[in-house]
């Protein structure tokens, strides 16, 4: 499913250029421990986290993640935004919790898989 469709359905607010929203999302991973994400997130996954520090962008780059969704209404640090733009990693925001965001996304992706 395209990141753009997910962003619309979940009302995520993109902070990075809209071209990034064209990419495909393969699934998602929820985590706030960076080494756990490094170990367990899958290629093309959307990463749902409350971390805002610049190191999240490096994790997303090394793991080939499709995007980062920052939850709980948190704002990324300004150097996180600079790096996200230069490394071409979409960052989107939501006021919802990780639980709600992941739950909704799980439903959407599951429904899509059932449709084939």
């Amino acid at each position: 499913m395209k990141l753009k469709e997910i962003a619309e359905i979940l009302s995520l607010r993109p902070l990075t250029p809209v071209e990034g929203l064209e990419r495909e999302v393969s699934g998602a991973y929820v985590g706030d421990l960076l080494s756990d994400v490094m170990a367990n997130a899958g290629e093309g996954n959307l990463w749902i986290t409350l971390q805002t520090h610049v190191n999240i962008v490096a994790v997303a780059v090394f793991k080939n993640l499709s995007a980062i969704v920052i939850v709980n209404g948190r704002m990324p640090d300004s150097d996180t935004m600079d790096k996200a733009v230069s490394e071409d990693i979409p960052i989107l925001l939501t006021g919802k919790s990780a639980f709600e965001t992941a739950g909704k996304l799980y439903q959407i992706l599951n429904a899509q898989n059932l449709q084939g």
């Binding site: 706030d32 421990l33 960076l34 080494s35 756990d36 490094m38 170990a39 986290t49 971390q51 520090h53 610049v54 190191n55 999240i56 490096a58 994790v59 780059v61 090394f62 793991k63 080939n64 150097d79 790096k83």
Partner: protein, 142 residues
């Protein structure tokens, strides 16, 4: 693609400025791609190197990351002159961490970095002397 010769180099890693964390690993990733190493191997090297780079930044404040790319393998040596590790077996256990609070706030300190390095390398060695420093060597076969 076959690698026809040996490429070597090193990066100096300095702690303190966490916004620069990952720069050495990013540069190495670019070098590997330019040399023609396949994506899956580049990914493994990048993850292992990034974890090693972070540990140097967090625990040792300064060190050197060396790489040797030969037709047979990629060898990464992360060497620091930090405090060293008292109990290596304990440090290798998933979940063990002495990361201070300010590092945990950034999301590090799961105690998974060394296990991640080991998982992504074909051969993993760690050697440490308290008060002198730590050396991690990783080999990824091509």
């Amino acid at each position: 693609m076959k690698i026809d010769k040996t490429y070597e180099g090193n990066f100096h890693i300095v702690g303190g400025d966490f916004s620069r964390a990952g720069e050495a690993s990013t540069e190495l990733k670019t070098i590997l791609l330019n040399v023609g190493i396949e994506d899956e191997i580049v990914r493994r090297v990048a993850i292992a190197t990034f974890e090693a780079e972070m540990n140097i930044m967090i625990y040792a404040t300064a060190g050197i990351l060396r790489y040797i790319i030969s037709p047979e393998e990629i060898r990464i040596i992360a060497e620091d002159m930090g405090p060293g590790i008292e109990d290596i077996e304990l440090a290798m256990q998933e979940g063990y961490s002495t990361a201070p609070d300010w590092v945990r706030e950034m999301g590090w300190g799961a105690g998974m970095g060394l296990p991640n390095m080991k998982k992504n390398a074909d051969i993993f060695r760690i050697d440490s002397v308290v008060g002198e420093g730590t050396t991690v060597e990783m080999i990824i076969k091509l």
